[in-house]
Amino acid sequence: MSRAVTRLTTAGLTGLVTVFLTAAPAFADNPLGPSEGHDPGQGLGTVEALLTYAVLPLAIGLVIFALVMLPGAKANRYRPNKPWNAASVWFAGPADPVAAVQSAELGDVVRGGASGNW
């Protein structure tokens, strides 16, 4: 019997002492003044709330969108399923391409290479 009492007392005391010891700082005076949340201050006005939670996120989103899309909008993007209407460009081609093609003769030269389509 005495053993059970001792155990219960020990357990109870340990619990109580732990709770009060760890709770002690909460009752201490704060040398730095009132802790946070002590003075909730003035509430946000409607305009301020809208600016902070609606306009500002939208603006940030728009800036990121512009940064992502603007370089792509400037570059000509080739679309494989659209017709190609641009004039032909020949890099390092003959000086007078039209005349050169007209006067070109295939001859019996064996040419190599490869072909593909997409």
Binding site: A86, V89, W90, F91, A104
Partner: protein
């Protein structure tokens, strides 16, 4: 360059500059006479594409023997690499086929200039290094009509 809305027609100026740079790099670093034609070929049937590309290659004149011509027809979705007999020794058909493969995968993703530039790099790597050859006088000449 083409008239009309520059946003949906042709290669942009910077894309053309990048291709020009890649072409001249092949000439300077690898001594490989590379030429790139970008545009649809006027054909009755698409089956004549190889012959038309051969004709463009022949139009290179004296250079043709040792020149590599890359023909890209964006509207016809055909690409052709034509090598002259001397160029073929430096750029075997197997290498050309690999370059074509990387072009077609880039083109189907919408990257025309990038595909061409990567292919030129592959051709140049395969061709190895040789003394630089002179720049042709008219790089990036626009062709209004052909064939």
């Amino acid at each position: 360059m083409a008239t009309g809305n520059p946003r949906d027609e042709g290669l942009s100026v910077s894309q053309q500059e990048r291709i020009e740079h890649a072409v001249s790099l092949c000439r300077k670093e690898n001594g490989l006479d590379v030429s790139v034609f970008v545009g649809d070929l006027k054909l009755d049937e698409l089956s004549g594409f190889r012959v038309a590309a051969d004709t463009l290659h022949a139009a290179l004149g004296d250079r043709a023997h040792s020149a590599v011509l890359v023909v890209v027809a964006p509207g016809q979705r055909r690409v052709e690499i034509v090598t002259g007999p001397a160029a073929r020794r430096r750029v075997p058909d197997r290498v050309a086929a690999l370059a074509v493969l990387s072009m077609t995968s880039a083109f189907s993703g919408g990257d025309l200039a990038g595909g061409i530039i990567d292919a030129l790099r592959q051709l140049a790597d395969a061709a190895g290094r040789r003394p630089a050859i002179a720049e042709p006088e008219h790089a990036g000449t626009a062709v209004a009509a052909h064939h």
